[in-house]
Assembly symmetry: D2
Homo-oligomer: 353 residues x 4
């Protein structure tokens, strides 16, 4: 299934080293003026090679729009777009054709399909997140027109053992995150994270991390009971990002150690409005937004591509050692930040528009 | 959306204090002999009032099958079933009619629908998990016929600060879990957890926890790329269970602190078969099963119903204090164990059958 | 697939001679007061045995509502309902257990499922249209609240060789149709049709016919381009009714013989509004309603159950003769009238609500 | 909704005069060798300007494949493809910008979206059928591998008042149809039809017609009960083709005048196999194929674009006269033949693969 959404549906396509990746966004409202520069900026945020700590493949990631837009305004017809793959050094992958890279999807694709596009991971490559960013940026443009206060903000909250203080979360700003090469708004932690990534690059190794997302301005009443809960939708979407290993919202896994009397959010009246005096719930109760900031976190594993030699087997079942020569990124977490934001926008737009 | 699944689709209905809860399971294969006793056992496992530590509402939870089965064998037509609500002490809830219980879905349902079934939580009650267990048990019967080695096993791995050792996980057994009043297979931890729950009952408070699920015997190649990844499907389903706050698979959030060289699962040859020498991936790579045991964990918050007085507001916006008199369960985690298992069966059956 | 609709989704279940038929209607708006008497009336309209010309099975068709309604008002939760099968003379069908009735679904169900519920046609019985009427009546209640001018009116326009004059269609009234035992608003034709049906009853034979439906008060702009066109949705729904063989809208098959200059509907200004001076289009252009009355017709084959002896084979492939003893209805068309109306309501509500 | 199919899903996009039309075909099996020449041939069959009787827009209709295929073999990933619009004489349509062409979708799109792509009909143009032919041809390649006897054959059975004899249908051949400029396998009728179309071209008028489709080699057991009947699926798909006004299968509307004893298909034994001695059912009983040839017919209205002056109104509500200067095709029926075939292949593949 390469489609996400019920009313606003994104279908993506494309492989790492095929002619193009792209998507079709169906159900997009008519009459939205498309800010192409804004979308191009989001593409730049996702792109590898933005800073010293995330070098790797260089792609211009120019988006070509094929339909659904006339004179810069959406018509209500599906918006199709493509991004050509230009920097396809397929020969880098020749040696990978016949072996299974550990903790990549090579083996599982082979088992599922009986064939796999071995060039740069094919359909399992993180390159498939590029269309998600285009569609998510389109979704944000449509959401903004409806909800002027909506703000979807994600940042790097952990890399390796270095993490920001949850107490500080609500004070973090996009300006501070974007000023950081690792998209961590805490300048001190950011510096430590950057050092750690440099160390790993030198070691030929990689490292995992966590992205936290805070959504302000989402009205109460969004989400569906039982199987379409807001956090189920967000969770399913986020877990679909390459390398994602976990999702939690509100106090998440920490709730396991909490008492009801600590974890419950008392209702209070503030400025004549019903609100809660705490937000352990993360803005969602019974699967439906309550008007408080929506908070969730996504855990990412270290990228499985490392320069260190690794034990593996060939497609013929012969043990061998893999010493990856190709480009790689020791930590994908900073690049996951715009993906998390744009994917969250897509999920919200599907429920709200 | 009250439907889950693409090919095997469960639609559930019913409120805590309406005439009945139930479901329609569509896409179920024909020719499966239905073991009604097995399903009744699963219903008993889910039911409140099974042991001293989970007292509360007493329901017989008798399942009436309305369609899709002839002479005990499935016909391929949708299987509809209902479970009558019999122990509906609606008057217990009279005082809750006009106020919002903290961290329940009262407020969000009111905001979404402009009306809410205030009797026992209505559609947001954990009673809606009863049909999930019926459908999941049906799914297991169909899966078993196809995959004789499949084993879906869940247990309580944490309650409050007490948790089992992850190192021991692969040695735990259903016999040991089911012998425990809290469904924890580690006898020592089980006793501590039980003590803790008694303490909370005395305190009028509640506590959260974690359920771990291990699926053995799932063949490689199950799951869909990009938006239908096996862990996205499992995650979305599990996050839909009442009180769920987080989902992780494989090493989950711990991966954030790991290096690629630690986290990768090397491929090796064992008994002439390709396998991995470790399972940090939790049996899933690129969203597709690799034949290793699938491991995931679901975090649950403490049940928001507590006996301690709580600050809240009425529907008219008047601050008030809630002192809940109704029945409650200080820890829902042991009862979540069969729900996790049956929901996992439903997700797998949707992908496999 | 036993589900229809995207936003307002009806899932039905049940067999002719199982415990019950029923449905779950999900996506129904909250706050609608349910007129149970109105729904009961619609059930009476569909029921066999309403008049001399449609005798057969006698069912009370009492609807039991299981969820989604509190104090007579919809809550937004799925509305589940069941109708018990009471007049199940299963023994009537004993002799049919091992043979395939011509032009029934016995053979195809056997080929698809390897098993079939032979009691009264099982899931392929026209009894499955009872839940459609309940759901359609619910849909009409919700539509009425939104669109006070909406009027969905169907009638018998042909039985055998006797048909009403298309020129008269826009003058027909529900009062006249419902006064007719065959639901034909033209009194003269109605008498002829009734005579024909009596003749067929005497002959032990059956006859086909056509139902015409006219929807007034549907606003312009309803329907989706390409694969979700309003007439595709209506067509798919109507073709799903038992015994339906064809669907056309506007001038339908007659368009094949028309010239563009005859068939086009010129735009004109009437009372300051844009409208068309003719309605060959049947109220739909490019799959989207244009504000004119929506007109469509559904062709039904003669019911395959006849008293005359018929050649067939047993499940073991032995040629035999079938002489049906069970109850039957020589013409299902009058009973199809409320089904067409209610199904049209369901399709419209899915697109409009 | 721009998506068709449940398991094999085609999402199309593109407007008549935008950069490109195209589609994404998801759920396509892996390991199918793609015969690009075959697809190109199907594109040629659909293309305008194939013969004197169907002149109009000239497009090369070259298909560019963007994903899902490696070294000419499908990988299981979604297959995206685009067809650039090259012959876009947008200026031809300048005068149409501000008026509503009768019986086109101009007015209804304006009412639905508040904006419309007026260039050549935008999304409502028949150009959107090009991607359907690509996807349908891909579907046929996959079906052929599974069902070697499958043959999906459509032909022009009526244009204006000239129609082929239904008695001859089962003897018609693709060779004869394709040899005819109007795709009518009866040479005499073909000549009459061609004369009629020339006459209409001279008159500046257009004419409707009917396409008949016969599918041989479809096994018994294909289709779903109740809302997913094989003929509902086929009907919904066919009614989605531009200008389609009706759909019938088997004896269709003629069944309205038939008796059960005439219309029923007796089961007989032939060569030791169960079959029917007639095929009034059109190969489908209870919504499921019975192994007999599937027969259905699709009625098309005359194309609404004619050279004769027509009364209409401007977007501002001013009465005016339209004298269309643009290219047009007096009869779309011959070009609908490959669309019907390829769309039928898509529907079958969705149910069978």
């Amino acid at each position: 299934m390469n489609t996400i959404g019920e009313r606003l549906r994104l279908t993506t396509f494309g492989e790492s080293h095929g002619p193009a990746v792209g998507g079709v966004l169906d159900g997009y409202p008519s009459g939205i003026r498309i800010d192409f520069d804004y979308i191009a900026d989001e593409m730049r945020r996702r792109r590898p090679g933005q800073s010293a700590v995330t070098t790797g493949r260089m792609e211009r990631d120019e988006v070509e729009y094929l339909s659904g837009i006339m004179d810069g305004v959406s018509t209500g017809a599906p918006i199709a777009f493509i991004i050509r793959n230009t920097d396809c050094a397929t020969s880098d992958y020749d040696e990978l054709k016949d072996l299974f890279r550990p903790s990549h999807a090579d083996y599982t694709y082979q088992m599922k399909y009986g064939i796999r596009d071995w060039r740069g991971g094919g359909r399992s490559s993180a390159r498939v997140t590029a269309p998600i960013c285009v569609a998510g940026a389109l979704a944000r443009l449509a959401l903004e027109k409806r909800l002027s206060d909506l703000d979807i903000y994600a940042f790097t909250s952990q890399i390796g053992g270095i993490s920001t203080d949850p107490e500080d979360e609500m004070t973090f700003s996009r300006e501070d995150s974007e000023a950081s090469s690792v998209r961590c708004p805490d300048a001190e932690k950011s510096a430590e994270m950057e050092d750690l990534i440099w160390q790993l690059r030198r070691d030929g190794d990689s490292i995992g991390g966590i992205v936290t997302c805070i959504i302000r301005g989402c009205p109460a009443g969004i989400g569906e009971p039982v199987f379409g809960k807001l956090h189920s939708r967000l969770g399913a979407a986020m877990l679909g990002i390459n390398a994602a290993k976990g999702f939690e919202y509100g106090d998440g896994f920490a709730c396991a150690s909490m008492r009801g009397s600590e974890c419950n959010d008392p209702f209070v009246i503030e400025d004549g409005q019903i609100t809660t005096s705490s937000n352990h719930s993360g803005g969602i109760q019974g699967g439906i937004s309550n008007g408080q900031p929506i908070r969730f976190r996504v855990a990412f594993k270290p990228t499985p591509t490392i320069a260190l030699p690794q034990q593996t087997v060939t497609a013929d079942g012969i043990p061998t050692t893999l010493e990856a020569a190709g480009r790689h990124d020791p930590c994908v977490v900073p690049r996951a930040v715009p993906i998390v934001e744009n994917l969250a926008a897509l999920v919200l737009a599907d429920l709200i528009l």
